[in-house]
Amino acid sequence: MGEDLRMTGPAVELRGVSKAFAGIRALTDVSFDVRPGEVHALLGENGAGKSTLIKIMAGLHQPDTGEILVNGTARRFASPRDAHAAGIATVHQELLLFPELTVAENIFLGRAPKTSLGTLDWTAMRRRARELLDILDCRELDIDMKVASLSVANRQRIEIARALAQDARVVIMDEPTAALAEADVQRLMDIVRKLRASGVSIVYVSHRMPEIFALADRVTVLRDGNLIGTMDIAAVDESRLVAMMVGRAVDKLYPARQGQSGATALELRNVSYRTVIRDISFDLRHGEILGLAGLVGSGRTETALTIFGITPATAGEILIDGKPVAITSPEAARDLGIAYVPEDRGSQGLIRAQTIADNVALANLRRLTRGFLMDAGKVLAEAKKAIEKFGIRARGPEQIVRQLSGGNQQKVVLGKWLATNPRILIMDEPTRGIDVGAKAEIHLLMRKLAAEGMAILMISSELPEVLGMSDRVLVMNSGRIVAAFDKAAATPEAVGAAMTHSAASRSAA
């Protein structure tokens, strides 16, 4: 990274790029450039063409028309290898790592240092891996550990180290903070700034406005495969960007509360699961949205899994409508009127290879029968109901879920669970990876459900969402509930402090 910045033109430039898949246009005549040492935010709703654009830059797709210029020369990327050679690296959203290989290997895979014999030089590889991670301030990361056992944040750091190992001049980050907790987001932003200072350009794809305003130098907005505009960050504000993305003004992000809290729906008394969560006690009322905040790994999702019976409680008591219940399996939880919209839509929420109707029926198999047999009519009717009720944009109940956008997929998960007529709804990261428009729809829906008397427990890593949606906020840390706030008392400062302060004091103890 010792080179000085002699280049004046863009590090990478896309000119008039178009791309279609099976006749469907994904990008139409889009031009985009990245200057040396800048953070360039790329914005757009899901399906706007961001992924296609970055995949073209990464060499995973080839444009139908248009050209890619690197340092002013036209290049053709036939494969990711060509893009790497041109100094472009990608930190993928789904973190494409090899779980059974070590940290060091993951960083150097495909371009490991060789000895004079042409074999891999493990000594050099491990040394340089250590150096790179030190540059990223990840001194605690063990380079000989298998990646399988690492947290999401650490995996992401490995991906970034991998980009550095390629001497990348341009690093594309695809929703890098989507899966990160607040503290890790801060660390990531520090890393991004550090990279920029060393002359690396960053293409930063994110749905989170605060990050964009904190980091980006310029911003480009795409909509429906078209370029809407590229601007200096100083020249725009949040509502303007949202309007550009959505194509209309979205005035209120978080809908106001309607109705009042009712009776207690769910109560936990000193619930523990092994040593993962300990002594969890709280109550959840009908008609309220209870926010559960905390860092990733603080035990939020684990609490939800215990309530839902995936990891049944090893101690303590759970009461529903005042009566103690034994929740030993998801099936039992469902039969008690609990629904869980999981954190990871793709692997936990949906069977993407199946149709909407199949997915909606999945949690309701026994109800959608006539005698011993499935009732195809009822299944279709249920799916149609969900499509109408949640405004799922699909050709019909027979459409394969994989073909839907993230927001619509999430609505299918919701449809599946609301078809069980639950009275308690747990939503884990309900809007992760969903674009602004769909996000607002889901928020509206949550409010409507609460107004109808649903008791909602919401887990979110996005502090604005927690604060905007919750009627009350609980904060978890190291497997315990460490603070509780009313809506009025739940300020970003107070909640943020509870999430991090106690973590520091606990680890110091």
Binding site: I310, S329, R334, I351, T355, L373, I400
Partner: protein
């Protein structure tokens, strides 16, 4: 479930089967006769019964290599229960089938409780159950069953072999269960995405346990029919059965990765294989040539399916 896509593979297979039947009946006038076809039905019954259960197993994304060994073990236990323990035949039959079912249950237990991949778990029990059969029998055959017992394997009801009725009934039941019941939906869901199935309140472990137990039961049922058909009990019975069964199921379009497959496909796959074995033999092709043809047909059928898939997917 992409009904159309499934239909595709079965359509290809049905066309292949019809072509095969047509060509084979051209090659030999002995092939397309009622007698021969019913007889072939008798010969394919054991493989067919096990293949029904195997379809469920593979749809969940699993595999069961131990079915042949369970068949051998059940056959031996049946013989031992009858001859050495002196149980009356119906009781010995029930006890042996219960033992075979239990062997399947053990497979399921190892797979679900200890999360051992099915391929490995059943690779181990393949050796274990066959070893038990050999050890228990000390390689001795049990013979001399009473004449009436041979009805199950050699008798006819309304002119149709007894076991073909059993196979037919089991096929219909299996087809209905897989396609039209909550259990069937759960089976597909587990194969397509086990975690999502679990998170949807499906009792994944229980479903899998049932399926492997059913595979044990079907193998045991096949064992009794087999013993009745060949009138003797040997510890090497059913050796290599798993490959025949898996070939039939896979040829029938069931994805080895799980989540896809139908009983109709399996039935067509089995019919195609049996028709080739019999028809080629009748038209003068030797056994080793037939094996080659079956191998080629298996790869070709799946290849055609893959090409169709790809063209659709774009």
């Amino acid at each position: 479930m992409t009904a159309r896509l499934l239909f595709r593979h079965e359509t290809i297979l049905a066309i292949l089967t019809v072509i095969a039947l047509f060509v084979l009946s051209m090659l030999s006038d002995k092939f397309f006769t009622v007698d021969n076809l019913l007889n072939q039905g008798r010969l394919m019954s054991e493989v067919g019964l096990v293949a029904l259960a195997m379809t469920f197993v593979i749809v969940t994304g699993g595999i069961d290599l131990s079915v042949g060994s369970i068949l051998g073990l059940t056959a031996i236990l049946f013989g031992i229960f009858w001859q050495s323990l002196g149980l009356p035949i119906p009781l010995a039959m029930a006890a042996a089938i219960a033992s075979g079912t239990f062997a399947g249950f053990v497979n399921g237990l190892i797979i679900t409780r200890f999360s051992v991949p099915p391929l490995i778990a059943t690779l181990a029990t393949l050796a274990l159950y066959r070893g038990l059969a050999e050890g228990i029998s000390q390689a001795r055959s049990v013979r001399g069953y009473p004449e009436w017992f041979f009805f199950f394997g050699q008798g006819e009801v309304l002119g149709v072999p007894f076991q073909l009725w059993i196979l037919g009934i089991c096929t219909v039941i299996a087809a209905v269960i897989l396609a039209y019941t909550p259990f069937g939906r759960a089976t597909y869901a587990i194969g397509a995405n086990e975690t999502a199935a679990r998170f949807s309140g499906i009792r994944v472990d229980a479903v899998k346990l049932w399926i492997y137990t059913a595979a044990g039961f079907m193998s045991a049922l096949a064992a009794v029919i087999f013993v009745s058909r060949v009138t003797t009990t040997r510890s090497d019975m059913g050796t290599g059965l798993e490959l025949d069964v898996i070939t039939g199921v896979v040829l029938g379009g069931t994805s080895i990765f799980g989540g896809k497959g139908t009983i109709l496909g399996t039935a067509l796959g089995l019919i195609l294989i049996q028709a080739l074995k019999n028809g080629l033999a009748l038209s003068g092709v030797k056994g080793d040539g037939t094996i080659v043809v079956i191998g080629v047909v298996l790869i070709a059928a799946i290849l055609i399916g893959a090409i169709f898939d790809r063209n659709r997917g774009g």
